[in-house]
């Protein structure tokens, strides 16, 4: 460093040390404390005794002495409840100086700002995970990348709606402890939701013992009715397999019924200014829910629109006319029944 006038050096030293509570320890051979001075107390270092081992008096130096390099800087160190300090350790080989300089407010503020940024990152990670859980990773990715846009005021879409419901769950929940009810419910919901996400549905709602999936929001090569029926078959297979395991273990088993309807619905964002949610409304939502009400255990009931578009699966379905609550007249539906065991 080039020589500077004494006045400048004095000013720089004063400026650099102002508000920084300098304190020092001078450590001789064998790590014995030779001398100390400055504001050691503000750093939580007190009762120092010259001529005794320094590490017993200042335990944070454990492992740091003897220093195997000429200097070491430890930024922003806090000892117990003492003031935060930058710790400088300087060595000439056998003797050491430890210099403590407290952090000024601006430095602490800077560190807090950095931390705020990382907290926002963590928050973003958590929110993405929550969105993934509610909407499925594919939808979140598609929304994020702008591949699909959902008009907040609502728009018409041609979709397939699937409702799946656990049968007799009300009586099961009345006969079992709440912990058992929730554990069982989560087990079954897991078996019902995974196939929906695998077939690119948006899981619109989880209503106690029932789930609603919407196919056709995410653009896929396969038609929404095809996706919905494949998901329904996967759900029944997963529940059947799970029931076989539970029955072997002597545990209670439950059954599932499914309804699917296909047609135009209104897709948009519903809610108040403080709480909004993605929503699908329309006749076909109600129709799918009513079909699911009528479905027997391990049965899939689909409407005519759905049936027409699932050519590869039509042979497994039989035609049936049913009367649905809230809808006038008979509705033509098609039923598929899977053996429960």
């Amino acid at each position: 460093m080039k020589a500077l006038p004494k006045e400048i050096t004095t000013y720089l030293v004063t400026h650099a040390l102002e508000k920084r509570n300098p304190a020092y320890l001078f450590i001789g051979r064998n790590n014995v404390l030779k001398e100390f001075g400055g504001d050691t107390a503000v750093y939580g270092i007190g009762g120092l005794r010259r001529g005794e081992a320094v590490v017993d008096q200042v335990p944070f130096l454990e492992g740091l002495l003897p220093l195997r390099q000429s200097s070491l800087i430890l930024p922003c160190v806090q000892i117990d409840t003492g003031r935060r300090a930058d710790v400088h350790i300087i060595s000439d080989g056998s003797r050491h100086w430890v210099l403590l300089l407290s952090l000024v407010d601006e430095e602490i503020e800077h560190l807090r700002l950095l931390e705020k940024a990382s907290e926002h990152n963590t928050l973003l990670e958590r929110h993405t995970k929550i969105l993934d859980q509610y909407l499925g990773k594919e939808l979140v990715k598609a929304l994020d990348e702008g591949q699909i846009k959902i008009c907040e005021s609502g728009e018409r879409r041609h979709v397939s709606i699937l409702f799946a419901d656990i049968r007799d769950f009300t009586s099961f929940s009345e006969m079992n402890a709440p912990e058992v009810v929730f554990a069982t419910l989560n087990h079954y919901l897991d078996a019902m939701i995974k196939p929906l996400l695998e077939e690119s549905a948006v899981v619109d709602r989880i209503m106690g013992d029932a789930v609603m999936g919407v196919f056709g929001i995410l653009t896929m090569a396969v038609s929404p009715p095809h996706q919905a029926v494949v998901a329904a078959l996967k759900i029944l297979t997963a529940v059947r397999d799970m029931n076989q395991q539970l029955a072997k273990a002597g545990k209670s088993i439950l059954e599932v019924g499914i309804g699917i309807s296909t047609g135009p619905v209104a897709v948009g964002i519903l809610g108040s200014t403080v709480r909004k949610t993605f929503s699908v409304v329309g006749h076909h939502v109600n129709l799918a829910a009513r079909l699911q009400d009528q479905a027997e255990p391990f049965e899939i009931l689909v409407d005519e629109n759905t049936f027409k578009e699932i050519v590869a699966y039509q042979r497994g379905f039989r035609e049936t006319d049913i009367v649905l609550k809230g809808l006038t007249g008979q509705v033509k539906a098609y039923a598929y029944r899977m053996q429960s065991a």
């Binding site: 335990p59 070491l72 430890l74 930024p75 990382s118 990152n121 990670e125």
Partner: protein
């Protein structure tokens, strides 16, 4: 057995991991304190001392709680100087923090060589919503010998894990 190692009264350990995985609350539990529900970030490094019983003798751990890593902050290697062992911490509800812990271990090995260390996967109390499943845990255990699932909220698992690390550092079976 190295008797000099066993006679050493005090050792330095560093507790490191990604940001907001619960390092400070784990240390608080380990040192006999409680759980702070309000997240308070660690700036730089915070040093506390904890007395432990190792092989029937009282020893002291100088615990360096080091600010968690993030996209905006990388741990200064200076903090790790002279440490005798380290504790990696991850959050079971954020599997990315386990990947981070593995990455940190690789860097620490380059800087410190092979030292006793453990991996604590925090938030065992939230295990139903963990990102880390059985296969993920098995993969971690293949890479790190001592992996513990712990809860800073309830305190479960923390003392067992720290006792195991202390025994290893002091060479006591």
């Amino acid at each position: 057995m190295d008797s000099a190692m066993q006679n050493q009264r005090r050792k330095k350990i560093c507790v490191i991991g990604a940001s907001a995985v619960g390092k400070t609350n784990i240390i608080s539990r380990f040192s006999g304190g409680g759980f702070n529900n309000r997240y308070q970030t660690t700036l730089g490094a915070h040093i506390t001392r904890v007395t432990v019983a190792v092989g029937g003798r009282l020893k002291e751990l100088v615990v360096w709680d080091i600010k968690g890593e993030s996209d905006f902050y990388r741990i200064s290697p200076a903090y790790l100087y002279g440490c005798d062992g380290y504790v990696l911490v991850a959050d079971g509800t954020r599997s990315t923090t386990c990947d981070h812990a593995l990455g940190l271990r690789s860097r620490l090995r380059e800087y410190l060589g092979t030292l006793p260390h453990i991996l604590l996967i925090n938030k065992d109390d939230l295990s139903p919503v963990w990102d880390v499943d059985k296969e993920g845990l098995a993969m971690l255990r293949r890479q790190i010998q001592s992996v513990y699932t712990v809860s800073a909220l309830s305190g479960s698992g923390i003392h067992d894990a720290m006792d195991a690390l202390s025994r290893e550092m002091w060479g006591v079976k």
